[in-house]
Symmetry: C3
Subunit: 416 residues, 3 copies
């Protein structure tokens, strides 16, 4: 599919309806997505507690790219593309580990933890090693959350982007958290089907019985997938329940609020605090807490904090746990979801928390979503697939699609 | 391969020779085939006894499409594309079963057995559910044979197409038959190599010893793959054997005859009745009957009825069994053959028939054809493959190729 | 990638640097390579002792092509494409064996050992069987080495091409050798990464400890991958060691010398004799001989003969063994390496040689190269891969790349 055909598809998209088939399978369109959408985001990839010590590293892999994320000498975190500047070999073959330096297994070009070339034997005289370093990947750490940005030149302003989300984030103290569990869900579906699935709770009643047994029905209708996912009348119906909970939360000194980006914003962000509902204190099977309080929380307030940094980077947090979601394209019709569960850094497994209880909700729910999106992918491949109209609970899908199409329409300018 | 290159390939095809390499592997050419050839046929897909009761259904799958075939409330059979009108999910995930309705597993849009939308919760006011139904697939049932036509608009006239075949079909009473056995043969070859293989018996002597041990040698040369497959002199040599058998058949009140389409016909059909030969009463290993008489037959007449509805939909029938062949493309270089064996609906397995005896001939022969066509596919992928001349026994291959090229030359007009 | 984009890539290649990403993965570029580079080489494929008797045959397979190599009635060797001239079926389904003729398994067209059609039943009158033969593949045998050339019309002059290599080859008596062992190394990498790896010894120190424990360090730097692979100052440093060894070799009546093609030559060939080093008599783990002397050698002189017929066809030979390397593309991102170890035809396994000792060096080294090139392939697929500068030990890589780009720039003229 050539560039003008992609442009035409974008231009003729019917508002309020799902996207046409090529968006979910065309390899050329996927390449444009990688360049204009995915490579321009601050991608939430992991938690800093994975690499606590100098020289600790892991690989982040996305659509054929491999990026080394490593703790440097001063405790800072570096990231660079896993591609030797000589003939392109991967310099790091382990998925995670600890090292003093990265020695390319091919010709032994040696790079420091900051990606700078330390030595390259037998090079011609005109070669200046000090000018050479592994191609850097922008990296920022916020409260222990590691964000990467694959843009080749100037990435968007990280601080400006996260600023409105900080009041929701800070209280959870994720900088003093640790990973309790992680699970990878490889999925035979285009990444946008995963995003669209995450951004609506229209499917919660039919497809997620466990989720629906925990969460307030009024909330599911009003903002089950965040502010803007449900219609105004549902928000009105939920108002009383929300207000009562907000009062209780404020009385404990806990933050409340609702935030999302409006049309025209360069970002697609969302953040809110709302009651889980039904008197549940945590997003657990029985409503009871599953771990010690995190961060600044004084008591269990029965609330859940949802933060979306962008459509592929999310947090869902109770007072005692935080769940990190990353949705990563691996090809035009494949992606992976990873869910990482965090608890307070001092919590002791077995004594203070049980992994099964902590991970129950989002393990069972993400497995369901894996099946749902793969079934969706199979269907949209049909020559008879025609995008249908969104329901009243798919407002956030529509807003994210508009944001996506906006990015897809703007030529990239960060390739040197 | 762009459209003009495909047109040039069609235009420059050398008469009397096999097709050029791209016909057997090019993905763009395959897409045109799906649109202009396969989607315009009445495809024989199964026997109605597979879904005897209201709500019984099965999926027919072809080149990424999934079509639900279901028995409705009044006993009628419906077919529709397995693609939800909301966001494209497959609405039916079981390959066969029974249901009262189809509830999309994603958002619970619910469709009746006729494909009409029954309910879709929380849709905007302007949404009119009664205007929505699963995209229909044309379906016709003839003597228990289920035919689907994937054309989006007006399909060709089914009644006109089958009319000359009825005298050959009716006597077999397939409307009062049941499935004795079915077998799927996935094949690593382009679907046309399967068709070309079926439409000539030039390979029978070298490649099918069992078939050749059963059938009259004179018939194999004259019309081993149906009327028009062999040369005139072979038909002349077979004339006496054929006439003697016809006389016997007529004396029992059984039909006889030879039919096929002439050049210029929009169809490629064939039907004939001829003796199996060697005194065999059925197409069995020992020549003895393998099941009770079917339909209107008064006695075993030693004849075989061959009907081709089109190059991918065939029947081969003795007095006691009927064998249904469907050849289904699954991709540019893959296809599947399914063979379904039918016997009289009252025949009792074990007592009246033995599955091994019923299926012997076409199970062993189809396995051989699977190997042959895969080997053929491997060869035509060579850069040195040059289409060679057809023999005197490949007349039906040539006529089917001409019909195919005619369809490939005519732009589709049934896409909305 | 269209033809003009490929031309642009070739035109803008930066001298002294690795190739851009599309050279290692683009399917259109790969097709051009097959036509303009690979199909124009005299490919070293095997040793004649594999097919000693009339009717012995094996298949050589390369990028979807299958070529039958067979010993004929007069002891001569024939080669032809494994594609029936009728409808393109493979005529030979066994990978190796013995036969009196090739009977196509589809319609029994029968070909002699020379590829000429012997019989084709039931063909039209105008068909002239004597004009038909399997599409021939050029074949030459030199000292037991079988070379194929896939060019459709006039291949390059074999005799002229091998002439300067004969002084290096003849003394090894490969015409009186036999296969001691063979090993196939399927590799997930473009074939040029394998070639580039073979043509430099810059990676020997970091990646091949066994090789580096055997070979002279000065030689590795000077000409570890053949004449021209290292810089002049390293050649100067190696001069004394080389001259001393040459004197010894000449005193035994053994040949010495250094040869390679200069820029502008239509060929890329190389041949040299040099000391293994460290007093080793053979390229073995302990430096001791591993088999009886081959050919005309009078004694173990501690030398190694390296011959490259072209970048994908190589020999490395001690006095007692010869190692044949063929690098064969199988697709844009896959290839296979085969290594064949030869010993004198009279040597007895167990008594005169041990397979493990004979194959030690190049089995362990080729396995390492398999890993290295697959890791290199993974890296060059990155959007951030940028071709880096070659070291002083990669002179032969640069010269082979220039030769390759020259061939890629010249349109083919041998397609009928």
């Amino acid at each position: 599919m050539d560039e003008s055909a992609i442009d035409e598809l974008i231009r003729t998209r019917h508002p309020g309806r799902a996207l046409e088939r090529p968006f979910y399978c065309d390899p050329d369109l996927f390449e444009r997505e990688m360049e204009r959408v995915i490579s321009r985001q601050w991608l939430l990839v992991d938690h800093a507690s994975r690499i606590p010590n100098e020289g600790d590293f892991f690989l982040f892999e996305i659509a054929g790219e491999s990026i080394v994320v490593v703790r440097g000498k001063a405790g800072e975190i570096h990231a660079f593309f896993n591609v030797c500047r000589h003939r392109g070999s991967r310099v790091c073959r382990e998925r995670q580990g600890n090292t003093k330096r990265f020695v390319c297994p091919y010709h032994a070009w040696t790079y420091g933890l900051d990606g700078a070339l330390r030595s390259a034997p037998l090079m011609p005289e005109e070669f200046v090693p000090t000018e050479v370093r592994l191609s850097p990947c922008h990296v920022r750490v916020l409260d222990g959350l590691i964000f990467l940005n694959l843009a080749e030149r100037d990435p968007t302003d990280f601080d400006a982007q996260v600023e409105p989300l900080l009041p929701f984030l800070r209280v959870h103290g994720l900088g003093r958290a640790k990973v309790a569990h992680r699970e990878l869900y490889p999925t035979e579906a285009n990444w946008k089907l995963i995003v669209e699935n995450y951004l609506e709770c229209y499917h919660c009643a039919p497809a997620h019985p466990q989720f629906s047994s925990v969460h307030s029905k009024a909330k599911i209708l009003a903002m089950g997938a965040g502010l803007g996912s449900g219609p105004e009348h549902a928000m009105a119906a939920f108002q009383q329940e929300l207000a009562a909970w907000q009062e209780k939360a404020r009385s404990l000194g806990h933050p409340t609020g609702l935030f999302n980006d409006q049309p025209g914003s360069p970002y697609w962000r969302s953040a809110d605090r709302a009651p889980i509902g039904r008197g549940f204190l945590s997003e657990s099977q029985d409503g009871e807490p599953v771990a010690p309080l995190m961060g600044e929380f004084k008591d269990y307030d029965g609330g859940q904090t949802a933060i979306s940094f962008n459509p592929v980077s999310h947090l869902l947090m109770s007072n005692d746990t935080a769940t990190l979601f990353r949705f990563t394209p691996t090809g035009p019709t494949t992606a992976e979801m990873e869910v990482i569960w965090l608890v307070d850094e001092h919590a002791r497994e077995g004594a203070d928390y049980d992994v099964k209880r902590v991970s129950w909700m989002w393990d069972v729910t993400t497995r369901q979503d894996q099946g749902i999106t793969e079934n969706n992918q199979a269907g949209v491949m049909s020559r008879r697939y025609r995008p249908g109209p969104y329901s009243q609970l798919e407002g956030a899908v529509e807003s994210s699609v508009l944001w996506y199409l906006g990015l897809m329409s703007r030529p990239g300018d960060d390739r040197d």
